[in-house]
């Protein structure tokens, strides 16, 4: 029975992971929706460049992304100093830094499905909304966005999963500090570094898998609900 109880460090790592992933998702989602919409609907100079930039964290080994984050957002980095001076905001070796790393790494996974969803929406429906007097923002809020919701949800699932599992950029950017930046993924790594850590590693693997399963099932339910709402079935 004791096997099924979580140890305090496991709880710590799990709740930290959830906090980090949820924060990363919550902050990057609005940005991703904006970016996805912009990439789908607007033509502007630098379109291709922006798109490439977003995908960079996928192409680079995570460690490199972590280094870049350290250089830019670290205590000695320009953005890091600016943010800490102006807003008292620090990403240095704390859970917010972990969230930043997870967010950056997950961003392309979030943007791509969202962009595809926006591209698939018939602009004629938006035309109809506008002709009924809805301002652009309202049209977006009550027509475009709800119709893109399955894509947004799809992206969010990918991003949340990635944020839960992110390792390389996180350990490089914010190190592996228990209680602060040691997420489930990092705890799992730490366990593998310990000859006696096999049981621990196994347990952490199970926990990670369970969380992922839960999140995915939840997202499936949500998606089914959405599909029903759009009228694949009535009521």
């Amino acid at each position: 029975m004791a096997f099924f109880e979580l140890h305090p460090q496991e709880w710590e790592a799990l709740s930290l992971s959830l906090k980090v992933a949820a924060t990363a998702l919550a902050v990057s989602l609005p940005l991703a929706v904006l970016t996805g919409y912009g990439l789908a609907r607007w033509r502007f100079p630098g379109h291709g460049l922006l798109n490439a930039l977003i995908h960079m964290p996928l192409v680079m080994p995570p460690v490199v992304t972590g280094f870049v984050l350290l250089l830019v957002f670290g205590p000695a980095g320009p953005a890091g100093q600016f943010l800490s001076k102006t807003f008292g905001l620090s990403f240095a070796f704390n859970w917010m830094g972990a969230a930043l790393a997870a967010g950056v790494m997950a961003f392309p996974l979030l943007v791509r499905p969202i962009r595809l969803a926006f591209e698939a929406i018939d602009p004629k429906l938006e035309e109809a909304a506008t002709s009924l007097g809805a301002p652009r923002l309202i049209t977006f809020a009550v027509v475009t966005f709800p119709l893109a919701l399955p894509g947004v949800l799809g992206g969010a699932v990918l991003a949340f999963a990635k944020a839960m599992g992110e390792f390389g950029a996180t350990i490089t950017f914010v190190s592996n500090i228990p209680g602060e930046t040691r997420t489930l993924a990092l705890a799992l790594y730490t366990a593998t570094q310990t000859p006696s850590g096999d049981v621990m590693a196994f347990r952490l693997t199970i926990i990670s898998a369970a969380v992922a399963l839960g999140a995915l099932l939840l997202s499936e339910l949500l998606a089914r609900h959405l599909r029903r709402r759009i009228g694949a079935a009535d009521d």
């Binding site: 460690v63 280094f67 350290l70 250089l71 670290g74 205590p75 000695a76 980095g77 240095a92 070796f93 350990i171 490089t172 190190s175 592996n176 500090i177 228990p178 209680g179 930046t181 040691r182 730490t190 593998t192 570094q193 310990t194 000859p195 006696s196 850590g197």
Partner: protein
């Protein structure tokens, strides 16, 4: 502060965790460890990470932090040493460190080793292989791993018939046997230097001291290290 933050090479995970517990029991101060690769940690210390102590798995990365003025050069001290061994699966026969013996044992398989270019353990391994004249024979049959643990695990599971690891690793892995020990002089000494960072909080020195104490030495020995003199 009643907390000491230690950035330490991942290979020291077991030993340091135990030492940290002892330290807390003794002094009431908590030691918090961030374990990762030495290179990663060195760069983080350079980037003003909130670390009080940096413990590297080799002297190169310690030199790097000294050069970058991230640690206090006056406090650098070696806390442990290690040996390099050739391991094989449990029950395998001892092996001579000769080209024929090794190629014979490898067959189609590869020689697991920590990445000679990125991981300290791999770098030592390469030196030893070179100075024992084995490098030319086996350099094409290496399986450089992300870290020593992976190399160890791959031997333990039988994915690779042979591996080069620290004796500390072999010591705690029940599924491998040490087949040969590389001569001490075949590689630069394997030393684990520790130092206080430039921003170390007061009282961190106590932990650095503690690392050289008897209790810590015992823990290091239990984990297969050779405590420094």
């Amino acid at each position: 502060a009643d907390k000491v933050t230690v950035f330490a090479a991942a290979s020291l995970t077991d030993a340091l965790s135990a030492i940290g517990k002892d330290f807390q029991a003794e002094t009431g101060k908590e030691a918090v460890f961030s374990f990762a690769g030495s290179g990663t940690l060195a760069r983080q210390v350079e980037a003003k990470a909130p670390a009080d102590l940096f413990i590297s798995a080799d002297e190169a990365w310690m030199a790097y932090t000294v050069e970058k003025e991230a640690v206090d050069p006056a406090t650098v001290r070696v806390i442990a040493e290690n040996e390099l061994v050739l391991v094989g699966p449990k029950g395998a026969e001892k092996l001579e460190l000769t080209a024929e013996a090794i190629t014979g044992r490898l067959g189609d398989g590869r020689l697991a080793i920590a990445d000679p270019e990125t991981v300290p353990a791999g770098r030592y391994g390469k030196q030893s292989l070179e100075s024992t004249g084995l490098w030319d024979t086996v350099s094409g049959k290496l399986a450089p791993m992300e870290n020593v643990r992976v190399a160890l695990a791959s031997v333990a599971r039988g994915d690779t018939p042979l591996g080069i690891v620290y004796s500390s690793d072999a010591f705690v892995e029940a599924d491998v046997d040490v087949l040969a020990v590389f001569p001490r002089e075949s590689h630069t000494p394997i030393r684990y230097p520790a130092a206080l960072t430039v921003g170390a909080s007061e009282g961190s020195a106590a932990f650095l001291e503690y690392l050289s104490g008897n209790a810590a030495r015992k823990r290091l020995e239990e984990a297969g290290f050779t405590p420094a003199n």
